[in-house]
Symmetry: C3
Subunit: 394 residues, 3 copies
């Protein structure tokens, strides 16, 4: 039996009802969103699902065609007492329950926000653009210098055309809590400026720096997959670098949107300082890419946090995007021969609607002789990769 | 019962809000269901919890009495833009976060549906009947030939009295994404016909076939627990079969409901083709069972996808069902001596209400000499098993 | 697509709607709560997030400063057909999906409730007080005798000023389901009495006992962290005690609230009976603590289940609490030299609002010579620990 009912915090006096009546909202666009008293209290439940397949045109090493649930994420968020909020996102793509964003925040000092918990270091334009909205299936090779979310405190603020964020962090929530050694820690800051930003045209400039102290093992390792996640092969790999006293990481960002066209690039440099007479080393990576929406959409820039947001197709037919990226990671320096990789990625993205998209990437990989997965692979391997993703977020 | 909430009546003064007025619904019957504009957008959150206990009347081998959370599942589903939908189910019964159904689908070409993601191969009546509704606690022994959900594409369609489905698949989302070898893949199809189906009487016939190519290890293994999950002992076990080029799997289904009585049976045959001069082998298994509702309910047949659905007790006292199953799995062929197992299961099911049920199973196990868990158990073991389950879904 | 839902005003539309209108509610205070027909059907979705950091003033052993997501929990609960309910809580703090409460219950025989599934043995005041509300970051050392939730059946009832609960249990859902040996089992009962309990003044007395039979390994082990979870060091550790036939556990509880002041204490004694001529051993632990709310709040006592509940700050500024605990665990007896630990904990708690709190604990640890983590640490170690937690529940 289906019978019609009214919803809400029903109180018997009509006057009081009116208060809630005009201010209680329940929404869905595939998820749930509930809000009371203009968001004094609210709750959102959503998620994302990414289904990948990859086919490897192998050169010297086997890479392993296959499929994957790249992300299967449940996302909760809420507001309480107006100024307080939380986010708890858990990913199940790997068959575990990996906490991604896991934070409590205070937003009472608008526009400043103070965030406590498991979150991202303020660093990198591409990293701060949600995987729901990144132009390519995988972030560029130089993302290797950023690693995972960490437990700490981050504060961020913004003006009309700029954003600033800084924080102090421990390690990822997955860092073994049973180790007797001290955890590593880090501090990072990022500043972004948008000298121009309108709905369809924007210029973004960004600057970031981080200082990281490793945990009591004093070790660090950088290694990256060839911008394809289904293979486990990481050609470029420094191996374990010992006697590390600290890391200095620096990043430069630039991006511009001109109607249907956009350009974006980032350079990240990492200094590894070592003790006990071991020589310091430095690595770097950069990428630059261009994107063109055949259907006329513009990549939406969010000056308040210096990142890009959701593409909303203009027509029922959806949006079509062409993109190309050149990406370089250089892990050779002094005694460390981690190898160098240079990738060209060609992309076709079909945004079926504002929540669903199909991504096709073709990656032309160029590894040098040292890019041999620390001897576990043959160097100078130049495979081509075709991979696709079907994605929904709700 | 479901109570439906219509909202927005307050806003009937304006045309805009009027659109939503009579068409937004919020329901709960223990879970959450929200729907807007007759389901143009909707979201459902539910789950299931199954609490098991098993007691083993041991014969030759120890089996290990115990308890278990057989399933503790969170289930999200939604519709967006009318024709698109998703499902994301995660099970926590094993203390991990195992994705079960994880799909995006398009249902715009009614009655045809195209499904992308982590889902079941179209195969087997019992496998396509949800564990919320299966007559016995565990599916029959021959379910061993089906394995797990896989990542792929499935399409299905149906008529008034038939259903057809076919798909192409990779491996389960749990298949190691770091392996350099290629994943296995498979293709499967299923056709079901219901020459007769009314509310209380139906006849079901089904036919299914699958072709599977193993991953680059070229290995396959079939082994099954004695229709009881708490013990880890798998008497029937082919061990690893090497040099496998491909599998051919064939299934026959038949079922009939006559008011409170029903019969169901399935036969599944598997051909294992091997290369490099290794001899081909073939295995098979089948079951047949009968069910009788003392309280007069009928098992609800769903012709549109050839499966059975939820039992709704006729009275406040709930529904009572008696059932018996004979199940056989034959894993002996040529060089492979995986053993043969024959089980008789007697069942009493009490459906306290449409969401809660108590299951009692008594299993009489008859193993042959080769059913020795590849030498890890004594063969010819004939234990009896008493197990029960308390289940809720919401 | 979003739709604004107005509530309550259906009261004014038709009598038909009016029937339901006054009985249906959708709420959020950071989570979701839906209720229909005065709770005949209802669903709640919430959770908790606890972000910890610890700094160790080490004495003889390294302990390892660090951060942690102590709890990141998703909590579902519901009612259906008025008398039935379920709870399914999953914790992701460890990067898995650990089921905590996972139960189906029947509450038709008010005030008696029958609970099936994964739940707590009825034992201990502090253990039955949710970690959302416990006065200190970690429960006292003697909590080691209680262990984890177990799968079983528990029944509880209560009067105006007393509660009683008893149950029979198997093992935790995490106990290996593949073990051939039988699971352990236990039975436990708890009775609490509140000779006095008003809103701001109460006296609690409690008595509990448990009998436990270990699994087929006939082994048991007691070990505890120093009331700090980030270090993995467990100074007090009996090691594996073999040939155990059964355990007898006894507990005494007392607590009192006098306006802003409260006292609480528990003593737990465990007899370990051993067979095959191995000598029986006995261990015990106890704690006592006092708490004072500078801002005048009272710890809310719930006589119906003999536990304490949520602190609701009286003012916008939140509530401030000072507390001190003395805690002892004695694991030395006869051949077992598990060591003795005595901790003093000083606490400052700031309840920012009814859902958010900041906890600061300073722990002065006093270990004896045998408290050496079974030889993995230096005995007689007396570190001091500073730890803090930021917590939200929604």
């Amino acid at each position: 039996m289906k019978s019609v009912i009214a919803v809400g915090m029903l109180l018997t006096t009509t006057a009081f009802n009116n208060v809630y009546a005009s201010e209680t909202q329940v929404k869905t666009d595939g998820g749930i969103s509930i809000s009371i008293l203009d968001g004094t209290f609210s709750f959102d439940l959503g998620g994302r699902l990414m289904i990948d397949a990859a086919f490897y045109d192998e050169d010297k090493n086997p890479l392993g065609d296959g499929t994957e649930l790249r992300r299967a994420r449940l996302e909760l968020g809420g507001t309480f007492f107006k100024d307080w909020g939380f986010d708890l996102d858990v990913d199940f793509g790997a068959g575990r329950g990996d906490v991604k964003e896991g934070v409590i925040y205070y937003k009472g000092f608008k526009p400043t926000k103070i965030i406590f918990g498991h979150t991202k270091e303020p660093f990198s334009l591409e990293w701060h653009t949600s995987t729901k909205h990144t132009t390519f299936m995988e972030r560029a090779l130089n993302n290797v210098f950023l690693g995972e979310r960490r437990i700490g405190i981050r504060t961020q603020t913004s003006g009309q055309s700029w954003s600033a964020a800084a924080g102090v962090f421990g390690e990822s929530f997955k860092a073994d809590v049973d180790k007797e050694g001290n955890e590593g820690w880090s501090t990072a800051a990022r500043f972004t400026l948008a000298p121009l930003h309108s709905k369809t045209r924007s210029v973004h400039l960004g600057l970031a720096g981080a200082y990281r102290s490793p945990n009591s093992d004093n070790e660090v390792r950088f290694r990256a997959r060839p911008e394809s996640h289904i293979t486990g092969t990481r050609y470029v790999d420094t191996g374990t670098i010992t006697n590390v006293s600290n890391l200095g990481v620096y990043g430069l960002e630039a991006a511009s949107v001109f109607d249907a066209f956009s350009l974006q690039g980032e350079y990240i440099h990492t200094d590894v300082s070592r003790e006990d007479g071991f020589s310091d080393v430095a690595f770097n990576g950069w990428y630059v890419y261009g994107s063109w929406f055949l259907t006329g959409e513009s990549r939406p820039y969010k000056a308040k946090n210096g990142s890009f947001g959701r593409i909303k197709p203009k027509s029922q037919k959806g949006a079509w995007e062409l993109a190309a990226r050149y990406s370089v990671l250089e892990l050779n320096d002094g005694p460390i021969t981690g190898g160098e990789e240079k990738n060209i990625t060609l992309a076709i993205n079909w945004y079926l609607n504002k929540q669903t998209r199909l991504l096709l990437n073709y990656i032309i990989v160029d590894n040098d002789q040292d890019a041999n997965a620390k001897g576990n692979a043959v160097g100078n391997d130049d495979p081509n990769i075709f991979q696709m993703r079907f994605q929904v977020d709700f």
